[in-house]
C-alpha cells in the first residue's frame, strides 16, 4: 500500500450497480435541528442570567417579541418596503445597463472596442469606495443608494452576459446561415438563448451583491428603510431591533436566491432534462 492510500479509508468491496443515494430518513431530520436549538437555548439562558447583557445582544425571546411588535406597529413592513423599493429600482437600472452594454459589446466588434475596455477597467474599482464621491455627486437622498445598488448589479450581469454571448457555439451560427436566418432572428433564436445560462449566473451574483450594496448604502445617512431602522436602534442600544433587521436582510437575500433558482429551472429546462437523463 502506498503512502497516499494510507490516508484514505480502504474500500475493499466492489459496488455493483448504481451508487446508493445518501438518504435522509424523515425520522432523522430533526437531528439537524438539535445544535441550532441548543445554541438558542444557551443564548436565552445566558441572557436570563445576565451573563450576556442586553446592550451587547438581546435575548432570543426579546427579539421575537420585538419582531412581532415591529410588524404590528407597521415599522418593519414600512422599512422593508422602502429597502425593497431601493433594491428593485437599483436592480432594474443596473440590469438594463449591464445587459444592454453586454449586448452592444457582444453583438458588434465596434461595440466591443468601445465598451469592453472601459468595463474591464471599472470592474477593478472597489465600488464601496465610491460612496464618498457618490455623496458629493448625488447628495444623501435616495439617488446615491439606488445608484450604488445599480452599479454593483451591472458588473456581474455585464461580464457574464458578454462572455455568454461570445461563448455561443459558432457551429450553430453556421447552421443559422445555411437556413437563411436573418441577423435579427439569429440573435433572437441562437445568440440570446445561448447566452442565457451564463446570464443567469450573472443574475444570481448580481442579486447577491445588490443586497450587500443596499446594506452598505443604507448605513449612509438613511432616514427610512431597514438600514435606518438598524442605525436608529444602535443610538438607543436596541440590540433586539438590530438583530431583527439583520434577520430580515438575510431572509430577503434567501428569497431572491430562491427566485433565481426558480427562473433557472424554468428557462433552462432543456439542460435539466439532459442532466436528469
Amino acid at each position: 500500500m502506498s503512502v497516499l492510500e494510507l490516508g484514505t479509508p480502504a474500500r475493499t468491496t466492489s459496488r455493483p450497480g448504481p451508487r446508493p443515494r445518501p438518504r435522509r430518513l424523515p425520522g432523522n431530520a430533526w437531528r439537524r435541528w438539535i445544535s441550532p436549538l441548543a445554541l438558542v437555548a444557551v443564548w436565552q439562558l445566558a441572557s436570563a442570567t445576565g451573563l450576556l447583557p442586553e446592550r451587547l445582544l438581546a435575548a432570543p425571546s426579546v427579539i421575537a417579541t420585538t419582531a412581532v411588535d415591529l410588524v404590528r406597529q407597521g415599522t418593519l413592513p414600512t422599512a422593508v418596503a422602502v429597502s425593497l423599493q431601493r433594491v428593485l429600482i437599483g436592480f432594474a437600472v443596473g440590469a438594463v445597463a449591464g445587459v444592454g452594454l453586454a449586448l452592444l459589446a457582444g453583438l458588434s466588434r465596434r461595440g466591443e472596442n468601445a465598451i469592453d475596455p472601459i468595463m474591464q477597467m471599472l470592474r477593478a474599482l472597489p465600488f464601496f469606495g465610491l460612496i464618498p464621491l457618490f455623496i458629493l455627486w448625488f447628495g444623501i437622498g435616495e439617488a446615491p443608494k439606488i445608484l450604488l445598488v445599480a452599479l454593483a448589479v451591472s458588473f456581474p450581469l455585464y461580464l457574464n452576459t458578454y462572455s455568454g454571448i461570445r461563448g455561443v457555439d459558432g457551429k450553430l451560427a453556421e447552421v443559422a446561415r445555411t437556413i437563411r436566418l436573418g441577423r435579427a432572428r439569429l440573435i433572437r433564436h441562437i445568440v440570446l438563448p445561448g447566452a442565457l445560462p451564463q446570464t443567469l449566473v450573472g443574475l444570481r451574483q448580481s442579486l447577491g451583491v445588490a443586497w450587500l450594496a443596499l446594506i452598505v448604502a443604507e448605513q449612509v445617512n438613511a432616514n427610512a428603510g431597514l438600514g435606518y431602522l438598524i442605525n436608529d436602534a444602535r443610538e438607543f442600544l436596541r440590540t433586539d431591533v438590530i438583530v431583527v433587521g439583520l434577520l430580515v436582510y438575510s431572509a430577503l437575500g434567501l428569497l431572491t436566491d430562491a427566485l433565481v433558482r426558480l427562473i433557472e429551472r424554468r428557462a433552462l429546462a432543456w439542460r435539466r432534462e439532459f442532466i436528469a437523463a
Binding site: L172, E174, R177, T178, R180, H189, W270, E273, F274, A277
Partner: protein, 248 residues
C-alpha cells in the same frame, strides 16, 4: 478573375450548381486549386478524398459558408446542409428545430411530415440533448429536407454513427432521395458508402478533382456486386491506397 458567390444566378440548364476556377487558400496553402464542378438536377454525387484534400472546403463554399473563395460559384437558391455533428439548437425542441427559419404558412404540417419521414414523430417534442446520435442525425436530416432543397449537402453525416445505425441511415437517405429527388453532394471518406449511394463518385486530391467514376448498378446495391468490387479497387488506387491497406 471573377470572385464571390453568385447565388441564384443563371445556371446552365439542368444544373443546380456550377463551380469554375474555384480556389481557396489558407495562408500559403492552396486547398482548392482552380476546381471545376457541375452538379445536375437530382444526381447523387459522393465526394471522396483524404483528410485535408479540400472536401469540406468545397462543401462549405457551395453552402455559402465561405466568403474567401476565389472563382465562380453559382448555386441554386435552395440549398440545405446536414453536418457531421447534427448541430441541433439545444434549447429548441425537435419540431422547433425543424421549423427554425421556415417561413411558410404550413410550417408546422411540413415539419410533422418531415419528422414522420425520418421516423421521428415520437420524439418531436423532445429536447435535442436527450436524443441518441442516430435520432439527432435524423432530426438534422428532417431540418434539411423540410426546406425542399434542390441541392442537399451532406458533410460526413454518418461518420460519427455506429455501424448498424449507419446502415439504417443509408437506406433512409436513399429513400428520401428517391422521393424528393434533390441533387445530393455527399462528402465522405468511406469508399463503400460512396459506392452504395452515389451515381457519380469524385476523388479530390490536391485541390482538384483527380478522378471520377460513374456507378450504374441498380439500387439497392450490395457491396459484393462485381461493378462495385471493381470500382472499389479503382477508387482506392485513386486515393493512393492499395487494397491491402499500404500506401502506394
Amino acid at each position: 478573375m471573377a470572385t464571390g458567390i453568385h447565388r441564384g444566378v443563371t445556371l446552365p440548364a439542368g444544373r443546380v450548381a456550377a463551380v469554375r476556377d474555384l480556389t481557396r487558400e489558407f495562408g500559403d496553402r492552396t486547398v482548392l486549386d482552380r476546381l471545376d464542378l457541375e452538379i445536375a438536377e437530382g444526381e447523387f454525387i459522393a465526394l471522396l478524398g483524404r483528410s485535408g484534400s479540400g472536401k469540406s472546403t468545397l462543401l462549405r463554399a457551395l453552402a455559402g459558408l465561405d466568403d474567401e473563395v476565389a472563382g465562380e460559384v453559382a448555386v441554386t437558391g435552395s440549398v440545405a446542409v446536414a453536418f457531421q455533428e447534427p448541430r441541433l439548437v439545444p434549447w429548441r425542441r425537435v419540431h422547433a428545430n425543424v421549423t427554425l427559419g421556415l417561413h411558410v404558412p404550413d410550417a408546422k404540417a411540413r415539419a410533422d411530415a418531415a419528422l414522420a419521414e425520418v421516423d421521428l414523430t415520437a420524439r418531436a417534442g423532445a429536447w435535442p440533448l436527450t436524443l441518441s446520435g442516430g435520432e439527432a442525425q435524423r432530426a438534422s436530416l428532417a431540418r434539411a429536407l423540410v426546406r425542399e432543397p434542390e441541392l442537399l449537402l451532406l458533410d460526413e453525416p454518418f461518420s460519427a454513427l455506429d455501424a448498424l445505425t449507419r446502415i439504417t441511415m443509408h437506406h433512409l437517405v436513399l429513400t428520401l432521395w428517391s422521393v424528393h429527388r434533390p441533387a445530393v453532394l455527399l462528402v465522405t471518406h468511406d469508399v463503400d458508402e460512396a459506392l452504395l449511394l452515389a451515381d457519380r463518385v469524385l476523388v479530390l486530391d490536391e485541390g482538384r478533382i483527380a478522378h471520377e467514376s460513374l456507378v450504374t448498378a441498380r439500387r439497392p446495391r450490395h457491396r459484393d456486386d462485381p461493378e462495385l468490387v471493381s470500382l472499389h479497387s479503382t477508387l482506392l488506387a485513386a486515393l493512393g491506397v492499395s487494397p491491402q491497406g499500404t500506401a502506394t
